[in-house]
């Protein structure tokens, strides 16, 4: 069962929005509508977010990503289309039912934290529970637990303005987690933080996600962040989703020049994985290792290799072993079986010019695994 589905979502601001949607459906341009005084913020957005997945919506400001997010929990009413969550059509709910869904099933984390300055950290974290009508004792216990999860134990009695930006956003995260909602909507939640803190928060989110398995929709304008966090990424431009896929899909096969121009600045060594660039083991078999040993069997290759890594290892982790030995690094599966090798020449080649699809190594499938293993990267 899929947890969150968006089906042909449109959001048009201005007069006669329905007419505008009809025009858009028949192929009208966003600029044509603007000339008439209506703004199409989101045009025909469809996607599915599986349970436990982090779905990142990436786009520049004005691309409609925040509008899209707000339609997912009904803060904005879609002009057309449906949002299904747990099979329930959110767009068909009465305001009262919608409020109930928001207070129990969907949480939100904001860009500028949106902490209530007149409430203590604990009271902030307990806010969602307070709205649900949970008793004071219970909500304080649960809020304190959520604060502990986000590493804010001992700060309960403080006030938001006494905390640093990163800590404030941890409160925001705790507030979202305290209600035990399945769906977490994060609106540029780390954009306002310093780069170092931002990395910490990304790590912590991934760490938490391993344990909590929430369904997360994460909005960002930073492709690096999108690639670090996203199991799947939607790139938006001018209200439309222009590409939908894994981090490697987007990096390796950008759908158009717009997406490609984005990927230029991405640190490929942290996104591409060993599995994505490795060569078949037989390419080295039959040769000789640097010390003269013949490589006849996978065991020989493994023995000669300076390191054996998993397919999901980002290639940044391969540089050190490659520099220590002329022999290729071995790539193994979960059982330790050799599935590929990465010679240092190959490692250098992938960091060069973006490869044309023809040259691209075999399409990497384990995108989900990439996210799970990023923790290793952070340790570097």
């Amino acid at each position: 069962m899929s947890r969150l589905q968006a089906e042909h979502l449109y959001k048009v601001f201005g007069r006669r929005p329905d007419e505008a949607v009809r025009k858009l459906e028949s192929g009208a341009d966003r600029d044509e509508l603007r000339a008439e005084g209506t703004t199409a913020a989101v045009i025909d957005a469809s996607f599915t977010v599986e349970p436990g997945q982090i779905f990142v919506v990436m786009g520049l400001s004005g691309s409609g990503k925040s509008t899209l997010l707000r339609m997912l929990n009904g803060l904005l009413d879609p002009t057309a289309g449906r949002v299904l969550f747990d099979g329930q059509d959110l767009t068909a709910l009465s305001p009262r039912e919608l409020r109930h869904v928001r207070s129990t099933k969907i949480s939100m984390v904001f860009q500028h934290f949106a902490l209530f300055p007149h409430r203590s950290v604990l009271e902030n974290a307990a806010y969602g529970l307070e709205v649900q009508g949970v008793s004071r004792e219970e909500r304080e216990v649960r809020a304190a637990e959520a604060l502990r999860l986000t590493g804010l134990e001992g700060w309960e009695k403080s006030w938001p303005d006494e905390l640093s930006g990163g800590m404030q956003q941890r409160v925001g995260l705790a507030r979202a987690l305290a209600t035990d909602a399945d769906l977490l909507l994060m609106d540029e939640s780390f954009s306002a933080l310093d780069p170092l803190i931002r990395r910490d928060m990304q790590d912590q989110l991934l760490e938490l996600q391993k344990r909590l398995k929430k369904t997360i929709v994460f909005i960002t304008h930073d492709l690096n962040e999108a690639m670090r966090l996203g199991d799947r990424i939607a790139v938006m431009r001018d209200g439309k989703i222009v590409q939908l896929g894994s981090a490697e899909d987007i990096l390796v096969t950008p759908a158009n020049d717009y997406v490609a121009s984005f990927t230029q600045d991405v640190d490929r060594s942290r996104v591409l994985t060993a599995g994505a660039i490795m060569a078949e083991p037989h390419t080295v078999m039959g040769g000789k290792a640097a010390d003269g040993t013949e490589l006849r069997t996978p065991q020989d290759v493994l023995a000669a290799a300076p390191a054996a890594v998993a397919e999901s290892t980002p290639i940044i982790d391969l540089f050190t072993p490659c520099s220590q030995s002329p022999d290729p690094v071995a790539v193994t599966d979960a059982k330790g079986k050799l599935v590929g090798v990465v010679p240092s020449s190959r490692l250098l080649a992938v960091l060069g010019e973006p490869m044309t699809p023809a040259e691209a190594p075999r399409d990497a499938e384990p995108a989900a695994a990439a996210g799970a293993d990023v923790k290793k990267v952070a340790g570097v």
Binding site: H100, R102, M108, F110, A114, P117, H118, Y127, Q132, L185
Partner: protein, 604 residues
């Protein structure tokens, strides 16, 4: 250009409202005056110094010890210039107006902050209320609500409402949109978003609005004084009318003390009630060094306990020593404690005759309330039945316009002094000027000015419309609007320096006693026949008070009596009118028994 009869429409609208919505105005009037009486009773119950102590404790709680000491000194000062009762009336007026204003302004501001339409509709209305000169709606206010505190409070509410509404709207709109969105994202109902997020965060701004409401209310008390609102405003208005700089300053400084106290306390209350403000205060207090006693503030509980203790002491005092010495032995009198209210305009013969009647009626056992009004308010108040009578109506000529408008609702008690005359007067040292005609061509000596009196006075109308054009002076001279006291002050100043001056005067007037003046002859007879000074009463007065009506009808004064009484009052200075009357009565013994004969039948 087509003349739009806007004024006539308003006139008929007011008439329509007056006839069809009497019940509404009566209801509002009784609610507001009920609130006023209730709060006034509470505020004036404790002895002044005890009350000063109570407000000082509040200041201690909110702002610390220095504020408390200053507060006590300030309120003690008000008491020591004998304006305590007036100050309490003013405080009551401001509190009632503020209370009603907030009851209207805060919900309206909330509504406006949640709806663009409401905001768009409310804004021009607020502009209208804030900039329309208060006097314009004050007189209709008197027509609807009668003279006294109610129109004053209503005018204050109208004037003070806009900042209350605006600041509430602004405060709520200023709350970070992301916070409101966060509340909504967690499923908060819009009512709870308002109560738990928007209002608490808007509170500092709303409190600033309340502060503005109170300050504007205080600035309106003087205008309220013009329609009988009493209090410090009444004192100021009386002081202005009599060019009594001393009283004006005393009343003014009392208003300033009240204003500063209310301003500082509501400001501090703003930080105390708002969660954010409370934290800021706690932080700065923790950092403060030096003497603890200056920064120490009692906990609310302690403060309340102290106030209650003081209030109890106050209550006890008023139980044991408060009640007024009974005017025993006067029960056989005609009045028997019946209340009579007299209104007057601060013209000298009016003041003289009014205080003369106050003294005489009190001697006959009435309880007499005397209040100064602006002319329009006086006639309207009388027509509405709130003022029983006034003694200074010049008929048939000078005050004809008022008489024509209200004659159906007034009773003419006849003339008590005749004939009067109106004239322009110059000091006698201007030897070559004896007639109106002599003024021609001499404008440069008088700087082209005739120092006039109230523009509402009949004499001013006659001067402007008949006399000046009649003698060809309207090009040369400018008639300056002012007030009788300011005209007399200017006359006094010019007379002392022997400068040329020409002023409108009338006979009888004490100025002819004090200064050597020449009445300018009127060869063309344009001033017309001399008026009689009439006493006018509200309709039904003579039926309810046949004896007083009889006295008023047969009341007559000679020129010698009137000018000597006026001179006596002038000598005593303002605020001591009644003592002057008593002194005068001693020199003129027997007149009281003539004008207000005591009941013949001896009491038991």
């Amino acid at each position: 250009m087509f003349r739009l009869p806007l004024g006539e429409w308003v006139d008929s609208a007011v008439d329509w409202l007056q006839t069809h919505l009497v019940w509404l105005f009566d209801a509002i009037s009784s609610i507001v005056s009920g609130m006023f009486d209730g709060i006034a009773a509470v505020l004036s119950a404790p002895a002044p110094l005890l009350f000063a102590g109570i407000v000082a404790v509040i200041a201690w709680w909110l702002r610390g010890l220095p504020a408390a000491l200053l507060t006590f000194v300030g309120f003690a000062l008000i008491d020591s210039v004998e304006l305590w009762d007036e100050a309490m009336d003013t405080l009551t007026l401001v509190l009632v107006a503020t209370l009603v204003t907030l009851l209207i302004a805060v919900p309206l501001g909330i509504w406006a902050s949640r709806s663009r339409t409401v905001s768009a509709v409310v804004r021009p209305v607020l502009d209208f209320m804030q900039t329309m000169p208060a006097m314009v709606y004050l007189i209709p206010g008197v027509i609807f609500f009668g003279v006294g505190v109610v129109p004053g409070i209503i005018a204050t509410i109208i004037f003070a409402l806009p900042p209350g509404v605006r600041m509430t709207e602004l405060g709520i709109r200023q709350v970070d949109g992301e916070l409101v969105e966060a509340a909504e994202a967690f499923g908060t109902t819009s009512r709870n978003t308002l109560l738990r997020v928007q209002l608490p965060l808007a509170l500092p701004t709303i409190m600033a609005g309340i502060n503005q409401v109170i300050m504007l209310g205080l600035s309106m008390v003087v205008i309220a004084g013009m329609v009988g609102g009493g209090g410090l405003g009444g004192s100021v208005y009386r002081a202005i009318g009599n060019v009594d700089v001393g009283l004006g300053f005393e009343a003014g400084i009392s208003i300033v003390i009240l204003a500063m106290y209310l301003d500082r306390m509501t400001g501090a209350l703003g930080t105390v009630v708002s969660p954010l403000g409370r934290r800021a205060v706690a932080k700065t207090r923790a950092m403060a060094e030096g003497w603890k006693i200056w920064t120490y503030r009692p906990q609310p509980v302690v403060a309340v306990a102290a106030i209650v203790a003081l209030a109890l002491v106050a209550g006890g005092m008023s139980v044991f020593g408060g009640s007024k010495a009974d005017t025993a032995g006067k029960s056989a009198q005609v009045g028997d404690g019946k209340k009579i209210s007299i209104g007057y305009i601060p013209w000298d013969e009016g003041i003289a005759s009014t205080f003369l009647w106050k003294e005489m009626l009190e001697q006959r056992g009435f309880e007499v309330d005397v209040k100064q009004y602006e002319a329009g308010a006086l006639y309207t108040g009388m027509a509405n039945g709130q003022i029983d009578f006034q003694t200074d109506s010049w008929l048939p000529v000078t005050h004809a316009s008022y008489w024509e408008k209200y004659q159906d609702r007034l009773e003419d008690m006849g003339s008590w002094y005749a004939p009067t005359s109106l004239e322009l007067a110059v000091p006698a040292y201007m030897k070559d000027i004896t007639s109106m005609e002599d003024l021609k061509g001499r404008a440069s000596e008088f700087k082209g000015r005739i120092v006039g009196i109230e523009p509402s006075a009949g004499e001013m109308g006659l001067l402007k419309d008949k006399l000046l054009p009649g003698y060809g002076l309207d090009e040369e001279y400018k008639l300056i609007d002012g007030s009788t006291p300011s005209m007399l002050a200017e006359l006094k100043r010019a007379y002392a320096k022997k400068e040329p001056i020409v002023v409108p005067l009338w006979s009888p007037h004490w100025a002819y006693n004090d200064y050597d003046l020449t009445k300018l002859k009127d060869p063309k007879g344009l001033w017309g026949e001399g008026d009689g000074i009439h006493t006018l009463a509200r309709k039904g007065f003579s039926q309810e008070n046949p004896e007083v009506a009889q006295w008023l009808k047969s009341f007559k004064m000679t020129e010698e009596q009137l000018t000597s009484l006026e001179a006596e009052i002038q000598k005593a200075g303002s605020g001591k009118e009644q003592q002057a009357v008593r002194t005068w009565l001693k020199d003129n013994s027997g007149v009281v028994d003539t004008w207000a004969p005591p009941r013949r039948t001896p009491g038991p």
